[in-house]
């Protein structure tokens, strides 16, 4: 290690946890470890008040029904029944799944391709390109979606005109058949650089001798990438699949901004997150919205739990 903590997560299994012996040494000369609780307590307090309490309250609320006449009454799982049998809710779920099936592999594929060629140094100006590709990460999704909305505006947008010149006059990127591909392109624009940065640091942590041995054995550079390097960064790739999937299921900002320009393009239940927002805040059906939020949270939580379990099995987490 050249400096403290380089590749902290680059070699997780090794450096993630201080060996037990060192911890014991830390406790021996000094005060009891109980004082550590005081360091952790402020975080736990905020976590409890602003995550556990609201989640508990949402679950509680979702078990009631408020009627205009008759007030609020306990209704057990009726709200969940209504959410889970709502065609609109499932329509949104199907749409984000379709979205994820396309967006996740394309994003990670592009990210892996560029990470690999920059890592091997087989393209010029790699350092410059890495910075450029990462820039959208720092740009709010609202502004990203705004820029793309103007670029793709029917008739007036530069990309719409470009499509016209290329032989597709009258292209409407916001039409019901193109709206999902449009959002996919916007999300790829936003997240490829972030994914690439993570894969690049993973590739950089592979020791030189491994690659050298392969090269000396006569491996071409595509073989080095596909057979030597990519298998070694499989944990990072799998993690990114989960991260992107969880992000895709929460899709909200991009469609809601696009809907400002083309209200008919995005229905109130276009994605599950839009369904939650429009049910609770839009129509004031808090109990139903709470139930939908709990369902969405459980689904995403289950996927994340899968990723965590996978990581723990690989010894990546403490």
């Amino acid at each position: 290690m050249t400096s403290a903590g380089v590749g902290v997560l680059g070699a997780p299994a090794r450096s993630d946890q201080a060996p037990p012996g060192r911890l014991r040494a830390a406790g021996r000369g000094g005060p009891p470890g109980a004082r550590g609780l005081w360091f952790v307590l402020p975080f736990l307090a905020v976590l409890t008040l602003f995550m556990f309490v609201p989640l508990g309250y949402a679950i509680y609320t979702s078990l009631f029904t408020t009627k205009l006449i008759g007030g609020t009454s306990f209704s057990a799982l009726a709200n969940y029944d209504q959410v889970l049998t709502s065609p609109d809710f499932w329509d949104g779920v199907r749409r984000v799944l379709l979205f994820a099936v396309i967006q996740v592999p394309v994003t990670i594929g592009l990210a892996a391709f560029f990470a690999a060629i920059f890592d091997l140094g087989v393209a010029k100006f790699g350092r410059f390109f890495r910075v450029v590709f990462f820039v959208p990460f720092a740009i709010p999704a609202v502004v990203g979606a705004l820029m793309w909305s103007f670029l793709l505006l029917p008739q007036l947008g530069p990309y719409t005109r470009l499509a016209g010149t290329l032989g597709f006059p009258g292209t409407n990127y916001f039409s019901s058949s193109l709206i999902l591909p449009t959002i996919i392109v916007i999300v790829i624009w936003e997240w490829t650089g972030y994914n690439m940065t993570i894969l690049y640091t993973a590739l950089k942590s592979i020791p030189r001798d491994v690659v050298e041995a392969a090269v000396i054995d006569g491996a071409t550079f595509s073989r080095v990438i596909l057979r030597v390097k990519l298998p070694m960064i499989k944990p990072a790739v799998v993690m990114l699949v989960f991260i992107n999937l969880v992000g895709a299921l929460q899709l909200f900002t991009e469609p809601s901004i696009l809907s400002a320009f083309q209200p008919q393009a995005v229905s109130y239940s276009f994605t599950p997150a839009l369904y939650v927002y429009n049910t609770a805040v839009g129509s004031g059906e808090y109990n139903l919205g709470a139930a939908a939020a709990v369902v969405l949270g459980l689904v995403i939580g289950a996927i994340s739990a899968g990723s965590l379990a996978w990581r723990r099995r690989k010894g990546d987490l403490a």
Binding site: T2, S3, G5, V6, L9, A18, L23, A26, G30, P31, G33, A34, G36, L37, F39, V40, V46, L47, V53, Y57, A58, F113, L120, V122, K124, F125, F129, V132, F133, A138, I139, P140, V143, L146, S149, F150, L151, G157, W189, W191, T197, A202, E212, T220, F221, F242, I243, V246, F252, T253, I257, A260, F261, V276, Y277, L296, G297, I300, G301, L308
Partner: protein, 331 residues
């Protein structure tokens, strides 16, 4: 060990001089890392690549860079145009009249009752500073507590923290709103700032970072010398944690600055809006064409929204550790 401790303590006390020395040391470490990177790379010629392949791959990168940069170029160019010119002239080049400064001036005015951009900017800066600052402090404390102490229930509490990584923001925003409605936190800045301080990813990153970069021997030595727990943390641990702290701070600034869902739900008064919600409100007006002249404000406003975060990254990039990103599980 004792000498090492005194050394650290002294350099922390000397203020500006110590700071400069630390910066020099950090620069040296970066050079070393870069040199190691170069030494670690296998020379390209060994792959027996034809020159055409290198050109082709570079071309791929150029094309993708154009895809990435085009919207930003469009943003810069069109921030200088009038509303009519945004629609009628070529999107990727300037047009007369050049009205950048007039457009920027519009950001200080209330556009037909939708609220004032400048105020949203101030709100965002306040939320980001307090939220990310608070998150960094909480993460540093909690990360240190988890990494360097073993107390009753410490493992259970750490797993509890990790498990909250699984809770998506879209699932928490509405519950927060429901609670705020009960306790009167709707439209309060604390309703935005305090949940922004919850960063389980940050705690995990700090714990990992501290485990690797704050030697337990140094902590033990300081205790033997009679330093209290808080002194050890502030004088010994914190100076060694700077790259981790900066990374956690930056990630949280970006998270707060770009947050849209939470403020959209918990703020009902346009005076409390952050930039994201304010711009979306303007977009509603501009998109449906109900309010004339909003487009230049929207575009100039978008440009001004982007600049601070990009600048922050440029200024702090020497400390930013991309390799730490891999610890995050919520995108």
């Amino acid at each position: 060990m004792t000498t090492a401790l005194r050394g650290t303590g002294a350099s922390a006390k000397t203020g500006a001089g110590g700071w400069a020395a630390r910066r020099r040391a950090a620069a040296a470490r970066r050079r070393e890392r870069r040199a190691a990177e170069v030494a670690n790379a296998v020379p390209v010629r060994l792959y027996g690549l034809r020159r055409g392949t290198v050109t082709l791959l570079t071309l791929c990168a150029v094309l993708f860079a154009l895809f990435i940069l085009a919207p930003l170029a469009w943003l810069v160019v069109n921030a200088t145009k009038t509303q009519a010119n945004v629609y009628s002239t070529f999107g990727f080049w300037f047009a007369r009249p050049f009205v950048l400064f007039r457009n920027l001036g519009l950001l200080t005015q209330s556009m037909s009752g939708s609220g004032v951009y400048l105020q949203w900017m101030g709100n965002t800066a306040l939320y980001a500073a307090l939220g990310a600052g608070g998150a960094t402090v909480l993460c540093a404390l909690a990360g240190y507590g988890f990494a360097r102490y073993r107390f009753r229930g410490s493992n259970a509490l750490f797993y509890l923290t990790l498990s909250t990584l699984l809770v998506p923001i879209t699932a928490v925003a509405l519950p927060l709103y429901l609670v705020y409605a009960k306790v009167g936190l709707i439209n309060s800045i604390w309703g935005m700032v305090l949940p922004s301080m919850v960063s389980p990813v940050g705690v995990y990153l700090m714990r990992t970072f501290i485990a690797a970069s704050v030697p337990p021997e140094l902590v033990a030595a300081a205790r033997i010398d009679g330093a209290g727990e808080v002194t050890v943390f502030l004088r010994i641990a914190v100076p060694l944690m700077v790259p981790g702290l900066v990374t956690v701070f930056l990630l949280n600034v970006v998270a707060v600055w770009n947050n849209y869902f939470l403020p959209l739900i918990i703020f009902t008064r346009s005076g409390s809006y952050p930039l994201t919600v304010g711009l979306a409100l303007l977009a509603q007006g501009a998109g449906t064409g109900s309010k004339g002249g909003l487009v230049p404000v929207l575009i100039a406003g978008g440009l001004v929204t982007v600049i601070p975060v990009v600048l922050l990254f440029v200024l702090l990039q020497r400390y930013f550790r991309a390799d730490l990103l891999r610890g995050s599980t919520t995108g």
